[in-house]
């Protein structure tokens, strides 16, 4: 196992159609035209692009990297068969077999016979959504789950109403870039009083290593609705850096709930030299617009050369709840600056933050969080717990918990701890007959228990294995 540090590092030979490198207003127009987009969307993109040009790349995160040449990135990459004016495939039969095989190799078979039974999957390959499984069953329940480009054509009114409503086009540098050039992603709408009958899942795969990936996800849970959604991601091994700048927007109306889970395993770069790897600059935000609604973010971050990501909740509806459960593992030369923002606007709003950072080798692992209790948020409460585990002596872990409380009755609690995974701990297990692999799994599962316990069952085991495998490579 240890001679195979990143088993998703293969790439698939497909003929790609791209718009070439570079970013100008024409690129933005061409992306929109290639997808036959309605006028409102082109307008949205152009507005974002105009603002993006006036913005500066943020420098406050605890990460360092050489300047990104935004003119040397391809902003659109699609398989030849998908790019001929059609925004997506009509059926799985049109999808080239080598792409289907890619997803099968990643453990996500898309064909009828082999697809996962309890989970509906939307598979995104470079810039294009390849296939969405279980469409009929979802349709019968009134649930919309499709690629973003399909939604743009079939449900333009929903997109126009909600797109950019949580993350405004000029929210930050990378969100503005995404809003200008985003390619595909997933769209979910759960109608009132509907419990989505399946787990929904999107699997993102970067294949073309010269292309950036800019996907867009929008999930709306209408009154009293519930959905659990999982996102997974991998990329081929490459000595170049790839830019991934996604935007995810979630909205819950009255008494609705969205549970959003991520297992992120983008290629992290060469473990020894730090060469290559994905820059994962992502904006994820959910708005609890309705009373007593709930948004829960769970993330297991195990890849990317650099992670810059703060899944956040705007707790606007009275009695709404925001949760953030995170495991971030960094090894090799990885740098992660991740955390959350909980913005309490409504009365009796509650938030919970559980963050587990594991740093190994020469990596840097930062928790950065903001808890803000605004003036009208009577009775608001937050509980934050940040634990770090260090493996070896050359890594770094930091926590920056910012608290901004504008009311005297707010209850804000914070706990933090730092521990070390020592050779003696591993030897203790081994001296009782337990293999190093099982020892690591037990130690890591124990450390991350509070987070792994809230992941959908199918993915918890996968996440546990992934964390163990990554650490095994670091303890040798």
């Amino acid at each position: 196992m240890s001679d195979e540090p990143y088993k998703y590092g293969f790439s698939t030979a497909v003929e790609a159609v791209t718009l070439g490198r570079g970013l100008t207003e024409d690129t933005v127009r061409a992306i929109s035209a290639a997808r036959n987009e309605p006028a409102f969307l082109l307008k949205f993109r152009l507005k974002a692009f105009a603002l993006f040009q006036k913005m500066k790349e943020p420098e406050w995160a605890h990460v360092t990297y050489p300047p990104i040449d935004y003119q040397n990135i391809q902003y659109f990459s699609a398989h030849k068969s998908a790019a001929n004016s059609k925004p997506t495939y009509n059926s799985i039969d049109e999808v080239p077999p080598e792409i289907l095989e890619t997803f099968a190799k990643l453990g996500i078979p898309l064909d009828e016979q082999r697809r996962l039974s309890g989970v509906a999957v939307d598979a995104v390959f470079d810039s294009v959504s390849i296939a969405t499984t279980h469409q009929q069953k979802l349709y019968d329940a009134g649930v919309i789950f499709c690629s973003f480009s399909e939604a743009v054509h079939q449900f333009p009114a929903l997109i126009e109403r909600w797109l950019g409503s949580v993350v405004p086009v000029a929210d930050n540098y990378f969100a503005a870039l995404n809003s200008a050039v985003f390619s595909d992603g997933s769209f979910v709408y759960i109608p009132p009083f509907t419990r989505c009958p399946l787990e929904l899942s999107t699997y993102f795969r970067i294949n073309n290593t010269d292309a950036g990936q800019f996907e867009r996800t929008l999930i709306i849970a209408d009154e009293g609705a519930y959905v659990s959604y999982l996102e997974g991601c991998t990329a081929p091994q490459s000595s170049k850096h790839q830019l991934h700048a996604a935007v995810v927007e979630l909205v819950t109306l009255d008494r609705a709930e969205i549970k959003y889970s991520t297992v992120q395993n983008w290629y992290a770069g060469d473990k020894e030299t730090g060469e290559g790897g994905v820059y994962n600059f992502v904006t994820k935000r959910g708005a609890c617009r309705g009373v007593n609604s709930k948004i829960s973010w769970t993330q297991v971050e195990t890849g990317s050369a650099i992670t810059w990501k703060y899944p956040s909740c705007i707790l606007q509806g009275d009695g709404s709840i925001g949760e953030f459960y995170s495991v971030a593992l960094t090894n090799g030369h990885m740098q992660a600056d991740t955390g959350t923002k909980m913005i309490h606007l409504g009365k009796n709003t509650r938030s919970t933050i559980i963050s587990k950072g594991i740093a190994a080798d020469v990596s840097t692992n930062v928790y950065r969080g903001l808890v803000q209790i605004q003036r009208n948020a009577a009775g608001a409460r937050n509980y934050t717990s940040c634990d770090s585990m260090l493996v070896g002596k050359r890594c770094e872990a930091h926590t920056y918990p910012y608290v901004d409380v504008q009311r005297a009755d707010a209850v804000v609690e914070h706990e933090a701890s730092t521990s070390k995974l020592s050779e003696d701990q591993l030897f203790y297990f081994r001296s009782r007959g337990i293999s190093q692999e099982d020892a690591l799994q037990a130690i890591v599962s124990g450390f991350c228990k509070d987070v792994l316990d809230v992941l959908p069952l199918e993915f918890a085991a996968e996440a546990r294995k992934l964390l163990t495998l990554k650490l095994e490579n670091s303890v040798g």
């Binding site: 081994r430 009782r432 130690i443 124990g446």
Partner: protein, 246 residues
């Protein structure tokens, strides 16, 4: 059962054991005594296979050459070395650790593993046998335990794993009087004609409760003096000086 012949143990350039020889037969109890820093803990950890040590000479356990085996294989072959200062592992449940260890051994000896649901009643029985408080089933692995509680937790492991040879490193240090009696009783309960014990200790009071067949005094990296159980009283009275000075 255990044959150590001219064993040398070094850390880097420092020799800690130099020509250590000892034979332990089935069913025997050997006490290993000696001044602080004489290498008693080092012997145990080297036998367990700690990677920090360079070991040469001969070490045979159950007819196998110990020095060629990795730590988990030694353990699963029936060697148990308790720790003088058991390490804390926050987040890992004691019961989970015991189940993993039990199943690792069962698996390597071709016996059936125990299912998660069958483990709690098994553990209750082992807790009774080893005379530790019942809440050890719900504790974390040494984390949040006092020094004495950690020592007793090692005795619980001894009963769960039922090794062929137990090397117990100062298990009696840091125990209150009642705990000392419980630990001694638990060690005696573990003893059988086919199980052996090496007791590392400084005190006669343990040897009064667990009768050794032989007592050895370690110094200058090897055994300087051996005797029967009566040696304990003399050491208690006169200390080690007369042996070390020769």
């Amino acid at each position: 059962m255990l044959v150590l012949d001219n064993l040398k143990v070094a850390v880097g350039d420092t020799n800690i054991l130099n020509g250590f020889s000892l034979t332990v037969g089935a069913g025997e109890v050997h006490a290993l005594m000696g001044p602080n820093g004489s290498g008693k803990t080092t012997l145990g950890r080297a036998l367990a296979g700690h990677p920090a040590y360079t070991v040469s000479g001969r070490a045979e356990f159950m007819g196998r050459d110990l020095l060629t085996l990795d730590p988990e294989t030694r353990a699963n072959l029936g060697l148990f070395v308790s720790w003088q200062y058991p390490v804390e592992v926050p987040g890992v449940a004691n019961a989970e650790f015991l189940r993993l260890a039990y199943n690792a051994k069962a698996k390597s000896s071709g016996k059936p593993e125990i299912a998660i649901k069958d483990f709690p009643p098994f553990l209750v029985q082992k807790i009774a046998e080893s005379q530790v408080p019942p809440d050890y089933a719900d504790r974390m692995l040494n984390a949040g335990m006092s020094g004495g509680q950690k020592k007793r937790n090692e005795i619980l492991q001894l009963h769960v794993l039922e090794p062929t040879l137990a090397v117990l490193d100062e298990t009696d240090s840091g125990l209150d009087i009642d705990a000392l009696k419980s630990v001694a009783a638990a060690i005696n309960a573990y003893r059988r004609a086919d199980r052996s014990v090496i007791l590392i200790t400084h005190f006669q009071r343990l040897l009064d409760l667990v009768k050794p067949d032989r007592i050895h005094v370690l110094g200058q990296g090897r055994i300087l003096h051996s005797g029967g159980p009566e040696l304990a009283a003399k050491l208690e009275r006169d200390g080690y000086d007369w042996i070390i000075r020769g």
